[in-house]
Amino acid sequence: MSANLPVLLVVVPLLCAPLAALTRRPRPAWGVAMLAAGWAFVVSILLLSRVLAQGTISYHIGDWAPPWGIEYRIDEVNAFVVLIVSGIAAVVTPYARRSVEREIDATRIPLFYTAYVLCMAGLLGISVTGDVFNVFVFLEISSLSAYALIAQGPDRRALTASYQYLIMGSIGATFIVIGIGLMYVMTGTLNMADLAQRLPMVDANRTIPVAFAFLAVGISLKLALFPLHLWLPNAYTYAPSAVTAFIASTATKVAVYMLLRFFFTIFGAAFAFDVMHLDRVLMPLAIIAIVTMSLSAIYQVNVKRLLAYSSIAQIGYMILGISLASVTGLTAGILHLFNHALMKGGLFLAVGAVMYRTGSVRLRAMEGLGREMPWTMAAFVLAGLSLIGVPLTVGFVSKWYLVLAGLEKGWWPVAAVVLVGSLLAAIYIWKVVEVAYFRERSREEPVREAPLALLLPMWILVLANYYFGMHADLTVGVAHRAAQVLMGVAQ
């Protein structure tokens, strides 16, 4: 059975999705979602440890050997991404029970969890598959369910946000499928490893750069790279709290993984950077994203929107690390995938608890909460410190490697931008902190601390920020090996 873990990782959540729909009652549906998330988490840990011990795992669906059949191929890179997705799911799902009960109609909850589990299955599928068309299919599974999830938000603007995301997301997915089609035209294969071998034979043909460009734009849309980020702030702001926390920590991460997979594994770093000069596009955009989006975050009065802009800036960090096209840079980028999931997850869960009690996430709603919801706000502050990059947090480790990668190449401005970004982060986080701790409450009714069911997952993520900030050798080690795999450097 254990040989089948790669496929079971995806299939069990996929089976749980209809099961959640069939339960037709909120609690059992949640239980099924919990089962799926827990299963995925356990399996992803097993997979990661096996990959680290034995190297790449290849699984052939239906026993059809690649490149004819669909292959699930797990190496250090996607084992790590799978762990991020399932780990976040395992923390957010317990949180979702109370939060979703408050924000969504009881009649819709079973279908909510169906979409939630489907979204998770889709993200896991993108991560494990070794077949480019399969990537597209899973991408659409996760995206369609994400649109549905976002539309469940309590505000009616959730609907327009979801619509906007649907349009942008579909354009992105269509671009990706065009790129895949063009690659298939030239090579006649869809298997990633096979593509990587055959593409160099035909890359003089003009079709390949066109495919490259379509994929670059499509994936950038999905990962909300500036200036293709316009769908993100509204989607994150108006989605239900649990959905925001889940999608913010996983969906864009998986999109970044797609970028890594397509441009490093399939096209190869040499083609992507030396021939196509991807870095000349990605790096300026990443830098602009870091600076302008952090600045935008400062001016937001809705805390979820503030964090959403911050997310775009943080995606800029990942892309910046990747665009350096060095092992250290990639290590930093991959590391930040994980670390950002931890800190943004913690922050969004804390904001979700505020939503749970006060019914609003505007800055005004947070007045005086430092006293009324001490645990929630303490979690917010601690996760915020991680976002700023204070030592002993994961944010610091990310920043350390990013700056190191920049200095290694002798590119001072890169290092400077990273540090300026963290100072801007300090400003927008502190804006919230000041409101929570220094303003007197303007609401009539005092509020109570969030229930334990919300606090516990939130604090697990917050403490993880510090645990992995102090014992980073695990995450850094995996990220480093993943970077070596992607760069094709012998270990």
Partner: protein, 488 residues
């Protein structure tokens, strides 16, 4: 208890005390006893390290490794021990003082106050015993963040604004410059550990290392080298015990201590002397000394004047480090102790006046010396220490700093030191002189007879004032520790 773990205990003890404070929040008397007991215990723990360190031991303890090569590690060496001794000893006295101050001033949220105080002390201990740049930086930032609730203790708009300046400058310099410098050091040397003789020798050109040095000197915002000094006056909105212990001793001394550590253990004095940037930075420090003294003149608010005096005095230590010779370093290190005892007394006096007579402006303190003779007497003695004249300890540190400038062949800097001493003579002694000899201003109501502040406060300031005299008579312990630093 082995010496390695003693250092860890020194870091953990204040935190445990802090938890005790939280647990005892409903019983103020017990809560304050917890603080006092912790403070005394901490001092003895730190003092127990004196023997082994004098015997040449350099106990080291790796708490955990973040990534290979970068670990949170503690190491006891003479300079750090000196700083830890000063800070922990003064914490005892400050605890005593704050009990009187916080109660008679009817401050709110006293539990929070005492708790974050312990956090700050713990971070200061961690910084003192840090074995590498990463550890130092980590505790440096914890100290910044841990003191933020203390600076903004009153929760007013003014406090919030001051808090912004405080965090803004300290975070931007530390993240913007210092962190960059640390990562660069890591890239150049492959290590961030403190080693006698430095780790950077021969790793890059003198020009590059000069840039690195500039990043360090301005990146340590807590050393308040101009133009990154604004946070210190801003922090004066805090309750006086905070200004006294943290912004005259722990926080600012962590800043200059960091610079000394970097000068001695990262660059190494020999390398430092050869860098082209070193003399320029020394002059920048000298400029800070003079400019801050001049600004101090213009301040009528006593705490603000003391703050600028602190900025000026801190640059003495920075200057000592940048002279890059043993006399300068000895003088700088001794000044950590000497200035600490002097300045804390001055702040104690400012707080005592605020509590007893409700005055904060110097011009309103005329004639107050007759009402509070002990307090202003202590101010006078402590001022002498800051100025650097007998019979107070400040003489010795200034003496060695002067020798250092001569050894470095920088007569101009010596002149600067002299000038600054003259300036401080005027702006500090103005306070007790006017308090004793000027008539009471119109409109100020003064109760007849002697009305001192509550006894714990008076006791505290008398003790520290006496200590400055004591350090004049017995400077050897401090001097010995610093010679050990230089001799390595």
């Amino acid at each position: 208890m082995s010496p390695e773990w003693t250092a860890a205990v020194a870091v953990a003890l204040p935190l445990l005390g802090g938890l005790a404070v939280l647990a005892l929040r409903r019983w103020p008397n017990l809560r304050e006893s917890a603080t006092l007991v912790t403070a005394v215990a901490l001092f003895f723990v730190v003092a127990s390290l004196l023997g082994p360190v004098r015997g040449g031991a350099r106990p080291e303890l790796v708490l955990f490794e973040v990534v290979p090569g970068i670990s949170l590690a503690l190491q006891v060496e003479p300079l750090g021990l000196l700083f830890a001794l000063v800070a922990s000893f003064l914490w005892i006295i400050t605890s005593l003082y704050s009990i009187g101050y916080m109660r008679s001033h009817h401050e709110s949220h006293q539990t929070r106050f005492y708790f974050f105080f312990t956090v700050a002390i713990s971070a200061a201990m961690g910084a003192a015993f840090s074995a590498n740049l990463f550890t130092l930086f980590a505790f440096y930032e914890v100290l910044t963040l841990g003191t933020y609730p203390l600076v903004t203790h009153h929760g007013t708009d003014e406090a919030r604004r001051a808090g912004r300046v405080y965090l803004g400058i300290l975070l931007s310099t530390s993240i913007g410059f210092q962190l960059l410098a640390i990562i660069w050091t890591w890239l150049l040397a492959g290590t961030v550990a403190f080693r006698p003789g430095g780790i950077l020798t021969g790793t890059a050109s003198a020009g590059m290392l000069s840039v690195l040095l500039v990043l360090y000197v301005f990146g340590v915002g807590k050393a308040a080298v101009m133009p990154f000094h604004r946070w210190l006056p801003a922090a004066m909105v805090a309750p006086t015990p905070v200004s006294a212990l943290l912004h005259a001793v722990a926080v600012v001394k962590v800043g200059v201590f960091t610079i000394l550590k970097i000068a001695i253990y990262v660059f190494g004095l020999d390398l430092l002397r050869t860098l082209p940037a070193t003399p320029w930075l020394a002059w920048a420090a000298a400029a800070t000394i003079i400019l801050a003294s001049l600004v101090a003149f213009t301040k009528d608010n006593l705490k603000a004047r003391l703050a600028y005096s602190t900025i000026s005095q801190l640059s003495y230590i920075v200057l000592g480090a940048l002279l890059a010779n043993s006399m300068g370093v000895i003088g700088g290190g001794m000044h950590i102790a000497m200035h600490a005892f002097g300045k804390i007394t001055l702040f104690f006096v400012a707080g005592a006046v605020m509590v007893a007579a409700h005055e904060t402006e110097i011009s309103r303190m005329h004639g107050l010396g007759r009402t509070m003779p002990i307090t202003f007497g202590a101010f006078f003695v402590a001022s002498l220490s800051i100025i650097g004249v007998p019979p107070a300890g400040g003489l010795w540190s200034k003496w060695f700093l002067g020798l250092g400038t001569l050894e470095a062949g920088q007569k101009g800097l010596l002149a600067m030191l002299m000038l600054s001493s003259l300036l401080s003579l005027v702006y500090l002694l103005e306070v007790p002189v006017k308090a004793f000899f000027r008539p009471v201003p119109d409109g100020a109501e003064r109760a007849p007879g002697i009305r001192e502040a509550p006894w714990p406060m008076v006791l505290a300031l008398v003790l520290t004032a006496a200590a400055t005299v004591g350090l004049f008579l017995y400077p050897e312990p401090v001097f010995d520790l610093m010679t050990m630093v230089v001799a390595q």
